[in-house]
Each structure stands twice: as structure tokens, then as C-alpha cells.
């Protein structure tokens, strides 16, 4: 069995590929780079596991995993029917979450598609009848973080052809909106709530979406975000307070404050 080392955690147990917890040893990992330098025998084999976490395993175990395990589904059709039934009903919630994280329709589309492809790939390890929605949300959240990390390390890319077309056009003097959040809030001009939510930090925005828009319980949010329940409570409390401050004018207008 391959050993998965969870790159972003410190002092965590190492989980076996099959899904059960395996006490390999407690590892203190500072960063992804640290693993690769410190443990040269460890190779990154998949970008994300069924929970969307970056995975590593020891190269000595890689050949063993090539053997296919017996499927828990009687046929491929059953597999696909169950996948559709369990996961597809959550697509609107998932898209809403992705959109509120990225504030960009195209990025949200990509994120949702990537999430479903990962869910499909790891459907065998999903326990049917458990919380499919929370499982999908966790994959999406981790994919978002991984993409965000990747993009934040890359220098911004600009298509030269677009720049050339722009400078040759008559629109040169028009104001450019660089922040997509500003653009999207302009779609629903005057919607203070959308604007206030969009202006929150990602962590705060995420917890508000999960709790107040999607109705997840504290325990579910703790699993999705991989944080203790106490942190869920305190983060939600802080996020709502910030949101309240931002919406004070709006609340006064409606007579709530």
C-alpha cells in the first residue's frame, strides 16, 4: 500500500491510499519543498487525492498500487448511475460556492468541472449515503487553494495580442477595472450584500458561504475546511461581525440597526 504524506499538515498521521488511517510515523513537514528535499524517496504521484489534498507517497510502494482493487459496484453503469444520483444534485450549490470564491464565471466553471472530475476519479473511495455535498465542497475548496497557490507563484500573464488590440483601439482612455470582484458587483449595482461579501478575506467569505448560504453545520464545516470546530465558531463570529460593520448603512436603511 502506498503511503500518502499530507503536505500541508504538521505532525499529522499518514494515511494509506485505501482510505484507512495508518500510523506510519508522525512527520513534521514545513512545506511541500521541504518534503521533496528532506525525503528524496518520496514522490508526488497525484496532484490531489479524493479530498483534494496534495499527496505524496514513497516510491518503493508505487508498483503495488498498480494492481486494481475490486470495485464495489456491480457494473460500470451502476457506478455512473450512483455518481449521477449522489453528486449531480449539488451542482448549483457547488457552482455558487465556486463563483463566490473566484468572482469570475470562467474560473468557477473550471473549478466545478475539476471538482466533478476528481470526484469521479475517486468515487470508489466515497462512502455512499454519507455527506456527498460536504465531500464535493471539500474537494472544491482544496482545488481552489491549490490553484490559488499555483497562480500566486506565477507572474501575471498577459496576452500580447490583447494588449496590442487594446492600445490600437479607441478605448484606451477608458477606466480599466482590474478587480473582477468590482466588475461582478457592478452586475447587480446597489447590491450591498454581494459587495460586502466579496470584500471579505477568502477565509471569512468561505465560512459565511458555507454556513449562511449553504446551511452546513459546524461539524461539516470543520471537515470541509479541515479546521477544529472551535475555529469554525470563532471564524464565523469574526466574519459576521465584519460583515455587519460593512452592512451597517444598509441595515440602517432597512431599519434593522
Amino acid at each position: 500500500m502506498g503511503l500518502l504524506l499530507y503536505g500541508f499538515k504538521r505532525d499529522e498521521e499518514v494515511r494509506g491510499l485505501g482510505g484507512e488511517w495508518e500510523k506510519f510515523k508522525r512527520v513534521s513537514l514545513l512545506s511541500l519543498f521541504y518534503i521533496e528535499i528532506r525525503f528524496p524517496f518520496v514522490q508526488r504521484v497525484v496532484e490531489a487525492d479524493e479530498w483534494g489534498c496534495l499527496c505524496y507517497r514513497t516510491s518503493m510502494d508505487m508498483t503495488k498500487d498498480k494492481k486494481k482493487k475490486g470495485s464495489k459496484f456491480a457494473s460500470k453503469q451502476e457506478h455512473d448511475v450512483m455518481f449521477e444520483r449522489e453528486f449531480m444534485p449539488h451542482i448549483n450549490s457547488l457552482y455558487n460556492f465556486a463563483y463566490r470564491l473566484c468572482y469570475d464565471g470562467d474560473a468557477a466553471n473550471d473549478l466545478v468541472q475539476e471538482t466533478y472530475m476528481k470526484a469521479y476519479r475517486f468515487f470508489e473511495s466515497y462512502q455512499q449515503g454519507t455527506n456527498a455535498k460536504a465531500w464535493l465542497f471539500r474537494i472544491l475548496k482544496n482545488s481552489f487553494i491549490n490553484d490559488f497557490r499555483k497562480k500566486s507563484k506565477e507572474p501575471p500573464k498577459v496576452d500580447y495580442a490583447e494588449v496590442e488590440t487594446y492600445y490600437n483601439s479607441d478605448d484606451v482612455n477608458k477606466d480599466i477595472t482590474a478587480d473582477l470582484r468590482v466588475e461582478s458587483t457592478q452586475d447587480s449595482l446597489g447590491d450591498e450584500i454581494t459587495g460586502a461579501l466579496g470584500s471579505l478575506d477568502t477565509d471569512f467569505r468561505t465560512i459565511i458561504i458555507l454556513s449562511d448560504l449553504e446551511g452546513f453545520k459546524y461539524e461539516e464545516m470543520a471537515k470541509i475546511l479541515d479546521i477544529p470546530i472551535g475555529t469554525v465558531r470563532s471564524r464565523l463570529h469574526r466574519a459576521r461581525n465584519i460583515l455587519k460593520e460593512k452592512l451597517m448603512g444598509y441595515a440602517l436603511k432597512l431599519g434593522f440597526a
Binding site: 451542482i91 448549483n92 464565471g105 472530475m117 459546524y218 465558531r233 452592512l247
Partner: protein, 96 residues
């Protein structure tokens, strides 16, 4: 030393009441989110029945959450994304 005094129904003030108020406030979010344990909820409601200030704060918090939850527009997934996912799955199956 500065002390926090809380005004309760009838103009009564006490440190003890302030402490109970603090405990009730700490539970307010949990109650609003329906996450309070039975004992916590009993304590909270028992206090709110007697304390006008906490009752008002609770009503305000609840109203804020209701407005936020109901007025926040939800985005629906474009239909082409659903089709896109299904076709990607079909391609993935062919590759297997």
C-alpha cells in the same frame, strides 16, 4: 477598577447579571445556528426571558442573519457546464 454593569428589566444592575449576560452572549451565535446543546439552549432562553437587553440583541442578530440569508442572490450553474462534465466523464471512461 472599572466594572461593567448591565441594566436589566426594571432598571436593576448587578455584576452577577453582567456575568450571566456575558455567558448568554457567548452562546448567542450557537443558538442562532441551531447548534446549542439542550442545556445551553435552556440556559440561554432562561436568561433572555428575563433580560431585555439580551432579548433585543438576539432579535437584532436574528434579523441580520435572516436578511443576509434571504437577500443574497444565488448563482445557478450554467447548463453547458453540466454537459461539459458529462462529456469529460465519457472521455475519461474511454481512456480507462
Amino acid at each position: 477598577m472599572e466594572r461593567t454593569l448591565t441594566v436589566v428589566k426594571g432598571g436593576d444592575t448587578s455584576d452577577e447579571h453582567g456575568r450571566v449576560c456575558g455567558a448568554a452572549r457567548a452562546l448567542m451565535q450557537t443558538v442562532l445556528d441551531n447548534e446549542a446543546l439542550a442545556g445551553q439552549a435552556d440556559f440561554f432562553w432562561g436568561h433572555v426571558m428575563d433580560c431585555e437587553h439580551c432579548a433585543k440583541t438576539y432579535a437584532k442578530e436574528k434579523a441580520f442573519l435572516e436578511v443576509f440569508r434571504t437577500r443574497m442572490p444565488k448563482k445557478s450553474c450554467p447548463k453547458n457546464i453540466v454537459e461539459g462534465i458529462r462529456s469529460k466523464i465519457r472521455i475519461a471512461k474511454l481512456k480507462e
